[in-house]
Amino acid sequence: MSTQAGPPPMVQAVGASKWFGDLVAVSDASFSIGAGVTALLGPNGAGKSTMLRMMCGLARPSNGSVTVLGKDPRSDVSVLGRIGMAPQQESLLDHLSGQEFVELAAQLHHLQRPVEAARQAIHTVELDPDDTRRLSTYSKGMRQRIKLAQAIVHDPLVIALDEPLTGLDPRQRREMIELFHRLGSEGKCVIVSSHVLDEVERFGSRVLVMAQGRLAAEGDFREIRNLMDDRPLRISIRTDQPRELAIALLDRGVISGCRLENTDLVVVDTTDPAAFRRAVAPVARDRDLSLLELRPLDDDLESVFRYLVAQ
C-alpha cells in the first residue's frame, strides 16, 4: 500500500496483524493516514474495530506495528492525550450524567477547565450540558453523540470513531458528517469506520477498505466506487419470456452468460452492470416482453468486499 507524500503520517501501520488464537482479525495491514477525514470501510467482522483498537493502543498488534504521531500508543501513555476515541459499544458509565461523563474525560486529560471544556464538547454534538439525567436514560442517538463529545473534549489530533453514525437520524447524520469534515479541515486526523457504503460515500473522503482482515483497497472514494461498479454481477430476471430476453441481451453484448432457471426466470452474468442497466429496459420494450423483477444476486456488501479482496 502506498505511503502518503508530504507531511509525516499521523497514523501509520506497517505489516500490522492481529490474531486471537486461530482467528485472524487483521492480516498484514500497511497504510499511512494524515490530516482530514478517512473512512475505514468494511463489512461486519472485517477487522475495522480491531484496527481502530490497535491505533488507540487498546490492543497490541500480534505482528508489525501501529504508531500514532510516531509513537506506540500501547506503550507510550503520553500519546493517548492526543487521541480521542468513540468505541463501537453502546455501554457508557451509566450512573453519570452526560456532563459528568465528558467532564471525567476532560479531567483525565488534565485540562485546566474541565467543566467548561465538557460543556463546549457537549454543545458541539448538540446535546444539553445542563441535562442532569443519567446516561442510562439516553437514547441510542444521544449515546452516540455523548461518546463523540468525550472523544473530542481534549481537542485531540487523532480522532478514531467506530461506527459513529449508527442510531442517528438523517439530520443528525448530516450534522455529524459536517462536524467530521470541520475537524478534518482543522488539521485533525479523523478516522471513521463504517460498514455502510452509501454512508461512506457521503464522507467524500479517502477510504481504506477492509475485508476478511485484510486491507482490500485504499484511495479516494470515487476510485473505490468505480472499482466496485466495474465488478461482475449476477442478476436474476423474472419475465414472461426469459429465453427471448436472454438471447436479446446476449446479442447486445451486455451479458456474458445466462442460465434459464424456470419458465419465467433467467439468471444472467454481466461484467458491465452500468451498460446492462441501460440496455435491459429498451430490449424488453423492443421485443414486447414484460419485465416482472430484476434482482442482483450478489450485490450485498460482503460480495463487493470479496470481489475487492480477489482483485
Partner: protein, 232 residues
C-alpha cells in the same frame, strides 16, 4: 492515585443493594456479639465469633463483593476503555480502585466489628479486632481487586476461593494454613485474648506483615495487568 477515577469507582460501589447487605451483616455481627456475651466462657466464644464471623465471613465476602466489582464491572460492561484511554498511569487507576474499595469496606467493617467486640465485653478483644479486621480487609481487597480484573466470573471464582481454599483446604495442614489469609488476622485475635484457635498460630510479625504484603501484591498485580491487558 487519580482522584477522578477514585470518585467514579466509588460511586459504582455504593449501590442500595450492597448497602442493604452491609447493614444486614452488620446487624448479624452485633447480634452474635450479644449472644457470645451471655456465654459461659465469654472470652473464648467472643474471640471465636469475631474470628469466624467477622474475619472469615463478613470481611472476606464483603471485600469479594466490592473488590471484584471495582474494575471487574468496568471490564464486564466494556466501560474500562473510558478510563484506560487517557494519559494517566495504570498504577494510578489501580490505586484509585483499591482506595475506592477500602473507602467503603474498611470503615464499615472495622467500625462494626469493633463495636461488636465492645458489645462482647472482652476488653482485650477490642483493639485486636480493629487491627485484625483492617488487615483482613486490606488483604482480601487487594486479592479480589486483581481477581475482578483478571477473570470474567470473578465473583464465582472468589466464592470458590473462600469456600474451598480459605475455609476447607486451610485446615489440611500447616503449609496450607500459611497460604490462607484468614490465619494471620485470626492469630492477632488469638494473641490478644490467649484463646487457642485452629490456624491461628502465626508469629506476631507475620500476622501483621503478610496481610499487608498480600494486599500490596494484589494492587501491584492489578497495575501490571492494566498495562498488559487488551481493552475491549
Amino acid at each position: 492515585m487519580n482522584l477522578a477515577v477514585y470518585r467514579v469507582i466509588l460511586r459504582t460501589q455504593l449501590s442500595p443493594a450492597r448497602l442493604l447487605v452491609l447493614a444486614g451483616l452488620s446487624g448479624v455481627a452485633i447480634l452474635l456479639a450479644f449472644v457470645s456475651r451471655a456465654a459461659d466462657d465469654t472470652v473464648e466464644v467472643a474471640t471465636q465469633t469475631i474470628a469466624n464471623f467477622g474475619i472469615n465471613i463478613f470481611a472476606a465476602f464483603i471485600a469479594l463483593s466490592l473488590g471484584s466489582a471495582a474494575l471487574g464491572n468496568l471490564v464486564e460492561d466494556r466501560t474500562l476503555v473510558y478510563l484506560w484511554l487517557r494519559p494517566v498511569s495504570r498504577h494510578s487507576i489501580a490505586t484509585a480502585a483499591m482506595a475506592a474499595v477500602l473507602t467503603v469496606v474498611a470503615p464499615i467493617l472495622v467500625v462494626v466489628m469493633t463495636v461488636a467486640a465492645v458489645v462482647t465485653g472482652v476488653d482485650d478483644l477490642v483493639a485486636a479486632t480493629a487491627v485484625a479486621t483492617a488487615l483482613a480487609v486490606f488483604a482480601y481487597s487487594g486479592i479480589f481487586l486483581a481477581l475482578g480484573l483478571r477473570f470474567e466470573r470473578s465473583l464465582l471464582i472468589g466464592l470458590g476461593y473462600i469456600a474451598i481454599w480459605e475455609l476447607l483446604m486451610s485446615r489440611l495442614g500447616d503449609w496450607f494454613a500459611r497460604l490462607s489469609i484468614r490465619s494471620y488476622p485470626m492469630s492477632i485475635l488469638s494473641d490478644a485474648t490467649d484463646v487457642s484457635m485452629r490456624l491461628a498460630d502465626r508469629s506476631t510479625l507475620a500476622s501483621y506483615i503478610v496481610p499487608l504484603a498480600v494486599g500490596l501484591a494484589g494492587l501491584l498485580y492489578t497495575s501490571w495487568r492494566l498495562t498488559r491487558t487488551e481493552i475491549d
